[in-house]
Symmetry: C2
């Protein structure tokens, strides 16, 4: 976690942290891992298959030139990481998080899981018993420092050619203030500025299904829409 005297906004202070991206072979996880690796972070791609994880890591190494990215099973990736990003489909989420609970305990766990359904009317937010996927993970791993973030960045944009996705904001929610600062600084690797602290973890109930609105806008307008918070000049 760097030295305690390092300013929180100096990302170089945190370069020794290792990030694991669970579901790192999927489009969202791969895109996030690419951005973190491109920023010089140490990243371990996690997957059910260590072989597929290694393939994705090799692809990102080839693109970024970073030697600080590797692939492992989800369990090994999490065990070796300081910060774990959950970038998995909601289907199977609770089973996977339960399995990984021993290696998530005590760590900063970032959920960018979007529980969505699709039918003839388009995308919609699923009802989640715990309120949100992030809260479900918190219930399953009470000792984890849960943060919700990165829900609205499109996989296409993340893997795309723009150096900085400066037109988008990352909204960060959680009940652990220090963990939110760390994750907010991760966001700066992607958008060029820290994520926006949006409040308590339970507001993940709003952030997760908001993705259904963005997908709906994309379909109607043939765009890749993102969220920007207006009026933040004073932050």
């Amino acid at each position: 976690m760097g030295t305690s005297s390092s300013p929180a906004h100096d990302s170089s202070a945190h370069r020794s942290e290792t990030l694991a991206v669970v579901g790192g072979t999927g489009p969202q996880g791969k895109g996030l891992a690419y951005r973190f690796a491109a920023a010089g972070r140490r990243v371990i791609i996690g997957s059910r298959s260590a072989e597929r994880a290694a393939e994705t890591a090799a692809e990102i190494t080839e693109r970024t030139g970073s030697a600080r990215i590797s692939g492992e099973t989800n369990e090994i990736a999490c065990a070796a990481a300081d910060i774990v990003v959950l970038a998995v489909p909601f289907s199977g989420h609770s089973g996977l998080v339960s399995e990984l609970a021993p290696v998530l305990d005590g760590k900063i766990v970032v959920s960018c899981v979007n529980p969505l359904g699709f039918d003839k009317l388009g995308p919609y937010g699923l009802t989640v018993e715990d309120g949100s996927a992030a809260e479900e993970a918190q219930r399953l791993v009470p000792g984890a420092r849960l943060v919700g973030a990165f829900h609205h960045l499109s996989a296409v944009a993340l893997w795309g050619d723009s150096d900085v996705l400066s037109h988008e904001d990352v909204l960060v929610v959680g009940d652990d203030e220090m963990a939110k600062v760390v994750v907010g600084n991760l966001a700066a690797h992607i958008t060029g500025r820290p994520g926006i602290d949006a409040g308590a973890l339970r507001l993940a109930r709003q952030l997760e299904p908001l993705t259904s609105v963005l997908i709906s806008v994309n379909k109607r307008h043939k765009v890749t829409a993102g969220i920007r918070i207006a009026g933040l000049a004073h932050v």
Copy 2:
């Protein structure tokens, strides 16, 4: 509704429409009524008290110079209107909409109702049996042409001095495509460009409680936050 040959984006084609703002003496309703009146629209402020409605109308007349704004009871306002904006607290929403059902039937009804709760952790979205306030109104008045819009514009900004709130977007949801176009054009009076069609009415389940995230951002960062959709250059 203007002549059928008028382009949808030509707001002058709709100047003959009368708007009623139910709850027009509250901050959100008053702010919207002010913006519509300033754009030359015919607006009737609705309230439980005709006297308070007339007072708010007089205040807006004084500010805008428009003689096309008046105040009435909610029922009279709705009966005289082509388009009704529901700008009321969620508390009491179902009772009020039920009462007004006969004068809402067949009309474009715009819900900007935000079912929110507040506790020590801050604001949060209430659970609504119908999914959203907009869907509740649709159930209570099946013949109304329900549209959800204007959830995220702050009352302070609406009543403020900026001519155009160009840094914000209005997201518009509904199952009546033509009604969404009409309401999208109303949004142009406020933000300088049409609202963004975001899909089916049920997505009001996401737009309404998203306001809790904005309020949370406001409290944490001492700002007046709004929503902007990034990546829409191609619309």
